[in-house]
Amino acid sequence: MASVSLTHLNKEFGNTLAVKNVSVDIADGEFLVFVGPSGCGKTTTLRMVAGLESLSDGEIRIGDRIVNHLPPGDRDVAMVFQNYALYSHMTVEKNLGFALKARGLDGEEIENACFALQKCWISRK
């Protein structure tokens, strides 16, 4: 985990200001929730942190790196989407393994991770 800090974050879509001057410091390990009416910029802010949206102004820092221009994959972040993005042409195991493989885990480690998850799910029932 790492600390995340947003400084004077702005996002404009054309003439609409979607995110206006947001500054937040999130400590390492802190649990933070954004609450607000729909359209107030929660998702846009998160998407900027993940790197799916460029920022119009401001700075995003993860750990001690400024990640403003880093592509999402290089930021070492995880994101769960509002509509969960599952790959319907893959099995559950492949869905789970796809991201792990991209991070350089080998087949055995992926299998262990899937096995652990399966156990979790069974014990919850």
């Binding site: 993940a50 799916l52 290089d74 994101m79 969960y84 319907s88 796809f98 991201a99 991209a102």
Partner: protein
């Protein structure tokens, strides 16, 4: 109450039947004509055949170069599909997803290929192709068909890609999966039903193409089905309509069979996506 509902549904059924008849009548006529002796077709124009014969098909399969034409058409169509699919997939993905200067203008100009009456292109294309040794070759013909299949194919596939949720790609991006891998491992498998439909489209464009096959394929043994059939209708034989009708059925049949095979797979692809 019940009777009025059934009266409406009977009326609806009759209207559907009428519309279907209007659309299917020419096909039905061709199909029936292919089983009728030529003399009967010339003399009396009834829809219901009086005498049935398979003589037309016997001469199509044994006396004409039907099998050669089928093979040639298959080769040209296969080349067209193989050449056009990578371009369509890459082009549609580029227009749909990537950002670069002039992208919108480019996507607008895509369909401009169809502005020109194709007959205008025959002479210049012939000249260019003869310089490139592409005249009288199946590849040259397939290149021409590719040029006509690609822009519309891109346009079709782009509409299909738009129906995929963007989260699929974004999730891959967050996981650090590159553009090319996302295209091959996420987008193409997800768009498979659309890509197969477009492959069929390219195949049929090529299968039915007449003008450029006629001008570019000079040797008899390179002729495709539409050209061969023209030879039956006009050309060296006297006009034998029963024979020509059998030829028309014979040229549609391979595509029809292909549809039956691929179509089933295609529907399975769609429903598999919907359930999960």
């Amino acid at each position: 109450m019940n009777s009025s509902i059934s009266a409406i549904s009977i009326l609806r059924f009759l209207i559907i039947l009428l519309i279907m008849f209007i659309f299917l009548a020419p096909f039905l006529w061709i199909f029936l004509a292919s089983f009728r002796p030529n003399m009967e077709l010339v003399r009396n124009q009834t829809l219901i055949p009086q005498n049935l014969t398979i003589e037309n098909y016997v001469s199509l399969f044994t006396k004409s170069s039907y099998w050669q034409w089928v093979i040639n058409s298959t080769i040209v169509s296969f080349y067209t599909v193989v050449l056009s699919l990578p371009m369509i997939v890459a082009g549609a993905y580029s227009v749909y997803r990537t950002q670069y200067r002039g992208r919108n203008v480019l996507s607008l100009f895509l369909l401009s290929v169809y502005i020109f009456p194709t007959a205008l292109l025959v002479v210049p294309i012939f000249k260019i192709f003869s310089g490139l040794a592409l005249v009288d070759s199946h590849l040259g013909c397939a290149l021409m068909n590719t040029a006509f299949a690609v822009p519309f194919g891109i346009w079709l596939l782009q509409a299909f890609l738009k129906s995929l949720p963007p989260e699929l790609e974004e999730a891959a991006a967050v996981d650090g999966i590159g553009r090319i891998r996302t295209l091959f491992q996420i987008i193409i498998p997800q768009a498979a039903p659309g890509i197969i439909a477009i492959a069929m489209f390219a195949f049929i464009v090529s299968w039915t193409e007449y003008l450029f096959a006629m001008t570019l394929l000079l040797s008899n043994d390179l002729h495709t089905l539409p050209i061969g059939l023209t030879g039956i209708v006009f050309g060296q034989y006297r006009v034998n309509w029963g024979f020509a009708a059998a030829g028309a059925v014979g040229s549609a049949l391979p595509v029809f069979i292909l549809f039956l095979i691929v179509g089933r797979w295609f529907i399975r692809g769609i429903s598999a996506g919907a359930i999960k």
